[in-house]
């Protein structure tokens, strides 16, 4: 009796502890569980919380349509708290304890790298929604954000052709995404005949807030008589003081435009955008995209979140595409078994929000249009240019000597993420 009561108490205590983390883990069995692995606290909460809401919204929408394979979908939310090793632990918990069918999550590259071995070992699926540096293709991961050729290179092309830019400042935060992207861009610019002295590379720490020196260096670099632009891979919070300093020092978009790869509607929401009008961003989706699909998505999102001031952004669209692809692949395979879904999902094509269809390619990257937008005074982007068709995500950059011979194809006979076309063998650099 006493022992029984004790056991009951500890079960209750365990439930109380895990309840806020794994909502609904004790609900009835007849559901398909979907894991959501986004930081809800710590530095990355600023970006990732919205994606958690987006996933809950998408799952809710799917359940309204009758669920999947006759079952309801059930979200399992965990909080890895912007702590990279914790991402791996939480991923393991989702797969082993909660038995989720697929996981949607991660933002930073380092968090993705930390969960990769878990997904490989436990053979589950990860849908990764953020633009990243490429140089990776993994069997269990689907990259629904942009690879460098779907964002950085078209943006540089636009500046070169439309604005006549000849001098380049590559400014970024000091970590893997900006470093790799800048390496690719540097190789690309040199291939286009830009001289070394016309490229300035600058790295700053995370959360850098004192931009006076760097902005005045950019100003000096830009006053050499050639048209200059800044390609910014500055991440997250550091952008706000950077743009403030640009505006304060009187650098206008007409003189030195800044094209940013990490600044979206969400980041601009914390900023007075009037002095930024004309600076550029490159994404695969803008909230301002004028299509019926997008209008519908925004209306439903506002209704779900009960706040019509909430903006939508590119990683949200990536989750929208990724989630629908997973749903379609599960329906095609008739099961949520990861191996079956991995086989079924290649070639699946679903509508994106910019009026076309995105398809999952054999390299586990997707096709997307590339949009260049100018920041408007209401914090929205207006598309000034877009690629004529869809661009296929290129996982191994053609501009880096290490990876230009590598391709990835996860379909049956080859089934390799880093096939070297020069040696004809699977396995080269990378994972």
């Amino acid at each position: 009796m006493f022992i029984n009561r004790n056991a009951a108490w500890s079960a209750l205590a365990a439930a109380a502890i895990s309840a806020p983390l794994a909502t609904g883990a004790f609900a009835q069995e007849d559901t398909i569980k979907v894991g959501i692995l986004h930081s809800l606290s710590g530095t990355m909460a600023i970006s990732e919380t919205t994606l958690k809401d987006t996933m809950l919204f998408l799952i809710d929408e799917q359940n309204k349509k009758g669920g999947l394979l006759g079952k309801k979908l059930e979200a399992v939310v965990v909080d890895p708290a912007s702590d990279w090793p914790l991402f791996a632990e939480k991923a393991r918990e989702l797969i082993e304890v909660n038995k989720v069918a697929a996981v949607f999550g991660c933002w930073t590259s380092v968090s993705r790298k930390s969960v990769l071995p878990v997904f490989e070992e436990l053979n589950n699926l990860l849908f990764y929604p953020v633009q990243y540096e490429g140089e990776e293709s993994q069997r269990n991961v689907f990259y629904t954000g942009a690879a460098p050729n779907q964002q950085a290179i078209p943006a540089v092309d636009y500046l070169m052709n439309e604005e006549g830019v000849e001098r380049w400042v590559l400014a970024g935060t000091d970590y893997v995404y900006p470093q790799t992207t800048n390496k690719i861009l540097q190789a690309y610019l040199k291939a286009k005949g830009v001289a070394d002295e016309d490229i300035m590379i600058n790295y700053t720490p995370f959360g850098h807030s004192d931009w006076q020196t760097i902005v005045s260096d950019i100003k000096a670099f830009g006053s050499a008589g050639k048209k200059t632009a800044v390609v910014s891979t500055i991440n997250g919070d550091a952008n706000v003081p950077f743009y403030k300093e640009l505006a304060n020092q009187g650098i206008k978009a007409e003189d030195i435009p800044v094209v940013a790869f990490s600044v979206g509607e969400e980041e601009l929401a914390g900023l007075d955008t009037a002095p930024l009008v004309g600076h550029l961003t490159a994404w695969n989706y803008f909230q301002s995209v004028d299509t019926p699909e997008n209008a519908d998505f925004i209306a439903k999102w506002h209704e779900y979140i009960k706040n019509d001031k909430r903006v939508t952004n590119d990683p949200m669209e990536a989750h929208y595409i990724g989630f629908n692809m997973w749903v379609k692949a599960v329906e095609k395979a008739g099961t949520t078994d990861p191996d079956a879904v991995i086989d079924a999902i290649v070639g699946v094509s679903v509508p994106n929000l910019s009026g076309g269809y995105s398809a999952m390619m054999p390299n586990h990257h997707i096709t997307k249009p590339v949009l260049i937008g100018e920041i408007q005074d209401d914090g929205q982007m207006e598309t000034v240019w877009q690629t004529p068709g869809l661009v296929v995500g290129d996982e191994w950059s053609d501009y880096l000597p290490d990876s230009k011979d590598l391709i990835s194809d996860w379909r049956a006979p080859m089934s390799c993420g880093n096939f070297n076309v020069a040696t004809g063998k699977c396995g080269g650099k990378g994972t």
Binding site: S216, V240, K244, A269, D272
Partner: protein, 546 residues
């Protein structure tokens, strides 16, 4: 293969005649009635892509018609719309349910249009530049001095030989001395791009050399390699300007260093009280700064909603409120937690770190994880030029504000009864207690003062940094560094420490980069602490042992 290129348009003879007649009708009409012939040019703005709009702007500007300036201004501001039904271009402003149209040439109202019936003419950066240049040429003779100044500036940047006659005309008419000088410099810049005689160019180089600056350097430098009289003059001018710039660069680093130092000072000065004077390792100090910033946000939101005319005063109003909020929270922390942990630094460190996480998550729950927008009052936006230095008002005011807070604190400690009691308690607690000072209350008030000052710092930092729940974390390490470097328990040490670290950082940054610069400063401090464990301004005498 390339058959497409050989294709010739086959126009029927009748149509060709019609075209010829049209052209004949058109040409004489130019110059007779200007508005009539501007209309097709204006409509051309809305036809086609950026390239066509660009050409149309230049075409319009070439007419020199006074109405064009207004049209270009509307285009740059994004107020020019094309009516889809007939391709006519209008200035449109939002009206109920659609747009109110105005004729851009006559200024007369042209009725209304539904939202779907008009399309905005889009401008990108290239068009904005074209507009600016064209607008500059059109407004150079404007009666408004500000417009003439801006126009001269844009001609200086983009003018060519064609603008010389226009500048000559403007120079002859100009009365204002400073604008006259700018115009002469703009003319000199245009002369360098023209094919005038060498003597003219040497004269132009002399004018520009006196102006100095990087823009000028970019103009002259390409000529420096060339031989002859012009080349020699250019080489001299380049070396003069460059040595001048090197001086200004040093001055700029000092100013940026002072500015960074003042930010460090603001963040650290509250800590100098709680850690320096009381000896409490308060990891929640950064969160007090954050609370101050969020107080500013709430104040601004209330002002925006209820009293928009007060907006320029929002920061002034926020300062005392931020002090109160942070001071009350600080006192609550001291009474609730820290008072039980005096003399146990490790426990204090852990407890306050826990408190900092609780405060962060509380703010995240209440205000959301995203950044909050804090507007700048008009007197804190923009910048002014001091020689080759660009000084931004926000930074200037923060320097002034940091020094004012510092002086105020020194005065409180030195000349008030509370300051006296505070110093007495921190120097010798049992003795102070024996003299009748209620030491627990002095502790609470001192902690409240330190926290409140951190709150004030939050008001200032909200102007240059993100207001997010993580705001405080960015400053906590720097604050401890400043206090330890300056000397624990000494406010003057904090001042000197903050400014030294700021300036050192800014002199290192251009050479080592921001990341390595920070590391070097940290290494320097570690070495310095090895040599002088008590910091720059060590307390001497009996207080040290307390």
């Amino acid at each position: 293969m390339r058959r497409g290129l050989r294709w010739r348009p086959h126009i029927p003879a009748s149509l060709r005649t019609a075209l010829a007649i049209l052209l004949l009708l058109f040409i004489p009409s130019a110059g007779m009635t200007q508005t009539a012939d501007l209309r097709p040019l204006v409509n051309a703005l809305g036809a086609g892509g950026y390239n066509e709009t660009d050409a149309a702007i230049q075409e319009l500007a070439r007419t020199g018609d006074p109405a064009v300036a207004g049209i270009l201004e509307a285009l740059g501001a994004g107020n020019l719309y094309t009516r889809k039904s007939d391709g006519e271009v209008f200035i449109a402003s939002r009206a109920s349910g659609g747009f109110a149209l105005t004729d851009p040439l006559t200024g007369a109202s042209a009725g209304e249009a539904a939202s779907g019936a008009v399309e905005r003419i889009r401008v990108n950066n290239r068009l904005r530049r074209t507009i600016r240049t064209a607008y500059g040429a059109l407004t150079l003779l404007s009666p408004d001095a500000g417009m003439r100044r801006a126009a001269t500036q844009s001609i200086f940047q983009s003018g060519d030989a064609d603008s010389i006659p226009l500048l000559d005309e403007a120079i002859a008419a100009e009365k204002d001395g400073s604008i006259l000088r700018l115009m002469r410099e703009a003319r000199a810049a245009a002369v360098l791009k023209s094919d005038l005689s060498d003597a003219d160019k040497v004269e132009a180089i002399r004018t520009l050399s006196a102006r100095g600056g990087r823009e000028t350097l970019a103009l002259i430098a390409p000529l420096a390699g060339a031989g002859g009289e012009v080349g020699a003059a250019a080489t001299t001018a380049v070396s003069t300007i460059e040595s001048n710039l090197a001086l200004w660069d040093a001055g700029q680093n000092v100013w940026y260093g002072i500015s960074l130092g003042s930010v460090l000072l603001l963040a650290a000065i509250g800590l100098a009280i709680t850690f320096g004077v009381m000896g409490v390792i308060n990891m929640a100090h950064g969160e007090m700064v954050m609370l101050g910033a969020y107080t500013t946000f709430v104040v601004q939101e209330l002002i925006r909603a209820h009293a928009p005319w007060l907006f320029d005063w929002s920061l002034t109003i926020a300062v005392p409120l931020a002090f109160l909020v942070a001071a009350l929270v600080g006192m609550a922390i001291e009474r609730g937690v820290i008072q039980f942990l005096y003399g146990r630094p490790l426990e204090t460190l852990l407890a306050t770190w826990g408190i900092s996480l609780i405060l962060q998550q509380t703010v995240r729950t209440i205000f959301g994880p995203t950044n909050r927008q804090i507007g700048s009052p008009s007197w804190m936006s923009g910048s002014f030029e001091l020689g080759q230095l660009t000084i931004t008002y926000s930074r200037l005011w923060i320097v002034v504000f940091a020094l004012a807070v510092f002086l105020l604190l020194i005065l409180i400690l030195r000349f008030t009864a509370f300051g006296l009691q505070m110093r007495a308690v921190t120097q010798n607690r049992p003795m102070a207690s024996a003299m009748g000072i209620r030491t627990p209350w002095v502790d609470a008030l001192t902690f409240g003062l330190g926290s409140g000052i951190a709150g004030i710092a939050g008001v200032a930092l909200s102007q240059i940094d993100n207001v997010s729940p993580n705001l405080g974390q960015a400053y906590i390490i720097d604050s401890f560094m400043v206090v330890v470097f300056g000397g624990v328990g000494n406010l003057w040490g904090t001042l000197v420490g903050a400014l030294t670290l700021g300036i050192a950082n800014k002199f290192l940054e251009p050479y080592a980069g921001a990341v390595v610069g920070k590391i070097l400063v940290l290494v320097f401090i570690i070495l310095f602490i090895q040599k002088r464990p008590r910091g720059l301004f060590a307390l001497k005498g009996r207080a040290v042992e307390a």
